[in-house]
């Protein structure tokens, strides 16, 4: 069969912050670039990022620099990070943020006209460049407008099914379909960049949109790349819990950065009871001390509400379990009693709006009810830090789909900066790979036909299951068995159930035609979701310790032995139902000068 076909030097899958930044870089280097996105341009999950992007520009605290940012990132990641990625990120983020203003971004300002920076959990200094609480929208719009002004081809509402190799095993392009008419489409490329974002849609309570099905994680694995740290999932401490229809919806950490505190049903600021030893030296012991810190970081130590996200999420979970939760099973996030209404509306306009319209709660007079929500996957495709190259020749990855940068837990604000730092590096890495000349030949036709046949199979079955039923059951199972707190028996059960889900996915029946059929679209997302859930479950089962975004009830302590390697998964067969093989991949050795930065900080 022949399908609509396009050839590019660089094909980018995903149009969030990382994909768009990669496109700009590749374009500026004179390459032809195609961008493929499942949604319309400008709708990627990046718009959901609220608080800001972390960059040690030192505009508010001149003491800040890349070394402190590096150290904060490594500590936040519980030292499981790829230290070279953390180093590059800390060093390059300021330049990446500044250049956004050349393309039209308008950040909030300091009194002397520089970019204002706000406090966030785990960052020693106020470090997040921001625009109120809609920083992600500013980032995506800025990059989108730049990409459009450069005349880049953007294929909207195209779902990529599978990467395709050439005869020598290099990644040579991909096959997908146009959602609007259901017609198949193929792309040939000298280099492919995965920038597909996260995978949180496989959990019931999530801040992720329908798009977060882990397509890039799965397609990378199938194509020969490795996935690392998949067990490390960030449950953001503050998601909405009521009404049920918005459960999981994100409440920005900026609420706490701007003075909001957490209280249990007894009105107690409970976070003082949950300060882990590694953070005690730098965390306030009393409310008085903590409250002084907001105005002057030298007058007191940090409030415990601004510990890294994994610490806060576990504490909330424990309070609710102990019976000190709110009526709807969360805790209270209170900024109303702590800041003037005018301040709250100016600093947190979209939170004000969100609670007023969806929950009927006025956050300037009432406390919010919040609880942990599945938010971000630290795990992802293993890459070379400097070039974003994966183990599959011709394939690159940047942004949430890439693993290593954040270790076992990501600090708030480090995601948007990750997108622009490693988006640029992926564009550069792809360009250098193409320049070296040893690029892929034509795509293997048989692989394209196999992917097309697999995608169409759900139409041909006489009978079968509704994909929505499978998705709902999968989300409930992952929430229950591979959620915020894990234990061996539940993980073993999850592994068995995932085999059953695999069989159910093979028996999907899709009703209706191919044109803009969300049931069919979901049917083609499910194979990736199953692959991701399996690798998360395998990693969670093997990591018999607690670290960052992976908490084991049966192994509550952190075990230094597990801090020496990542669990790395590969596919034995390259299909979505192929067995997954897991090995220990040693952490990158840390240069002495970086070690010294961590030593100093202790």
């Amino acid at each position: 069969m022949t399908y609509e076909h396009h050839d590019y030097d660089v094909l980018i899958i995903g149009a969030g912050g990382a994909g768009l930044r990669a496109a700009i870089e590749a374009k500026q280097r004179g390459l032809s670039v195609g961008i493929v996105t499942k949604s319309l341009l400008g709708k990627a999950h990046t718009v959901m990022a609220e608080g800001g992007m972390a960059a040690a520009m030192g505009n508010v605290y001149p003491e800040d620099n890349w070394m402190v940012h590096f150290r904060d990132t490594m500590r936040g990641g519980k030292y499981l990070n790829n230290n070279r990625m953390a180093e590059l990120h800390a060093k390059e983020a300021p330049a990446r943020v500044l250049e956004l203003e050349q393309w039209g971004a308008l950040f909030d300002r300091t009194k002397d006209g520089k970019i204002l920076q706000r406090d966030f959990g785990g960052h020693r200094y106020a470090r997040l460049a921001h625009v109120g609480d809609r920083t992600g929208l500013e980032l995506i719009r800025t990059l989108q407008q730049k990409v459009v002004s450069m005349g880049t081809d953007v294929f909207m509402e195209v779902k990529v099914l599978k990467l395709v190799h050439d005869a020598n095993g290099k990644v040579a392009g991909c096959v997908g379909y146009r959602r609007q008419n259901g017609e198949f489409i193929t792309f040939g490329a000298k280099a492919v960049i995965l920038a597909t974002g996260g995978a949180g849609k496989s959990w019931k309570f999530t801040s992720n949109s329908w798009e977060g099905t882990g397509d890039g994680h799965a397609m990378g694995l199938w194509a020969g790349a490795k996935l690392i740290d998949m067990e490390c999932i960030q449950f953001h401490p503050t998601g909405m819990v009521w009404p049920l229809s918005v459960r999981g919806l994100l409440v920005t950490e900026g609420v706490r950065g701007d003075g909001g505190v957490l209280r249990n049903s007894e009105g107690k600021r409970f976070m003082f009871d949950y300060v882990a030893p590694m953070f005690r030296a730098e965390t306030a012991e009393t409310e008085e001390e903590a409250d002084k810190w907001y105005d002057d970081h030298t007058a007191g130590r940090r409030p415990p509400e601004l510990l890294p996200r994994d610490e806060v999420a576990r504490a909330i979970n424990a309070e609710v379990k102990a019976g000190r939760g709110t009526p709807h099973g969360g805790v209270y996030l209170d900024i109303a009693t702590r800041r003037p209404a005018e301040f709250i509306r100016r600093r947190l306009p979209s939170m004000y709006h969100q609670f007023m319209e969806l929950a009927g709660v006025d956050i300037t007079t009432e406390a919010m009810e919040i609880g942990p929500t599945c938010h971000y996957i630290m795990g992802g495709v293993q890459v070379v830090a400097d070039t974003a190259a994966t183990a599959a020749p011709g394939l690159f990855a940047a942004g949430e789909v890439a693993g290593g940068m954040h270790g076992a837990n990501r600090l708030g604000g480090n995601s948007l900066s990750d997108l622009i730092v490693f988006g640029k590096r992926a564009g550069e890495g792809a360009a250098l790979y193409i320049e070296a000349g040893d690029v892929a030949g034509p795509m293997d036709d048989a692989a394209i036909e196999a992917a097309v046949a697999e995608a169409l199979a759900p139409f041909d079955r006489e009978e079968g299951e509704n994909p929505y039923d499978i998705q709902r059951d999968l989300q409930e199972m992952m929430q229950a068995n591979v959620g915020i707190i894990r234990t061996q028996s539940e993980l073993d059960d999850a592994a068995v159930q995932l085999d059953a889900f695999t069989e159910r996915v093979k028996n999907i029946k899709v009703k209706g035609g191919r044109a803009y059929n969300p049931g069919w679209n979901l049917a083609t997302d499910l194979p990736a979701m199953i692959t991701v859930c399996k690798s998360v479950t395998i990693g969670a089962s093997l990591r018999k310790e607690s670290r960052g975004g992976h908490t084991r009830e049966d192994f509550p302590a952190t075990d230094p032995e597990f801090g020496k390697f990542n669990f790395a998964h590969s596919s034995n067969g390259g299909n979505w139902d192929s067995p997954i093989v897991t090995e220990e991949s040693p952490l990158l050795p840390m240069p002495d000068e970086l070690k010294a930065l961590l030593e100093e900080a202790k």
Binding site: V47, E101, G113, S149, Q180, E357, Y468
Partner: protein, 259 residues
């Protein structure tokens, strides 16, 4: 558990009709929750766009009981008793069911000459909060295109799409015109090619904006004033002639290398 009847338009470019669905409705739910419930049960092929379900991406715009709304931000309990009618945005061609072809807007975006700032100092530009605040209001736009949908210049006159950018892009032009760093001049473009003059300030766009951007008062009217000043002010006219200030195109602006 309460039940609700939804009248949802189903069809494509060749035509269609309303279908009724009676489904459960729980406390606090929004229109998009009910559409999702219909998808998960009666009609898995019911087409609608959505992404964030938090009023931040602007994907799920449709007409609820005849008014443009974000389905994710419209609580069922704010609508009158009785069946709820959901139809696609009227101004754009139908693709399927509630999904419309909004490519008109993306084509307009391609015509906008980019920001053209002076070279950036090593430690970044200096701008002041009071100067960026005006542009920041317009940059809250989530591109739901409901202002475009409701603007009668194109809602009622399809042929005007050839020479009319619409409120979403008037706020974009206003943002760039008011940008403290910009050196491009788009005033003639806005007057001659983008049809700013067609807007007769009925404020329909402002009323539907989910971000509460004062599109008419803060963008369109000031833009009209600037354009008029530039075009009819003899001093400005002479200045243009003398300095031979030529407008740079979007692609010219785009190829300026990053310093």
């Amino acid at each position: 558990m309460a039940e609700v009847t939804m009248r949802v338009w189903r069809g494509d470019a060749n035509g269609g009709d309303f279908e009724n669905y009676t489904v459960a409705q729980n406390e606090g739910e929004v229109v998009l929750d009910i559409i999702h419930r219909i998808q998960a049960t009666d009609a898995p092929d019911l087409a609608c766009r959505w992404n964030c379900k938090a009023g931040k991406c602007g994907s799920c715009a449709a007409e609820v009981n005849g008014k443009p709304r974000l389905m994710c931000m419209t609580r069922m309990d704010t609508l009158p008793e009785g069946p709820v009618t959901v139809t696609p945005m009227k101004t754009f061609p139908i693709i399927r069911d509630l999904v419309t072809d909004v490519s008109f807007n993306y084509a307009q975006a391609e015509k906008v000459p980019a920001l053209l700032p002076p070279p950036m100092p090593a430690d970044g530009y200096r701008m002041y909060q009071e100067d960026v605040a005006r542009g920041q209001e317009f940059r809250k736009c989530i591109e739901c295109f409901m202002c475009q949908d409701v603007c009668h210049v194109i809602r009622d006159h399809e042929d005007n799409k050839q020479h009319y950018a619409g409120p979403r892009f008037f706020i974009r032009y206003a943002e760039l015109e008011m940008h403290p760093l910009d050196t491009n001049d788009r005033r003639d473009l806005v007057r001659e090619d983008m049809g700013l003059g067609y807007c007769n300030i009925t404020k329909c766009c402002t009323e539907v904006c989910p971000e509460h951007i004062k599109i008419t008062d803060n963008a369109i009217i000031p833009l009209k004033e600037r354009v008029v000043d530039a075009h009819y002010d003899p001093v400005a006219w002479l200045g243009r002639k003398i300095r031979r200030r030529t407008k740079r195109s979007a692609s010219d602006a785009a190829i300026q290398p990053a310093p």
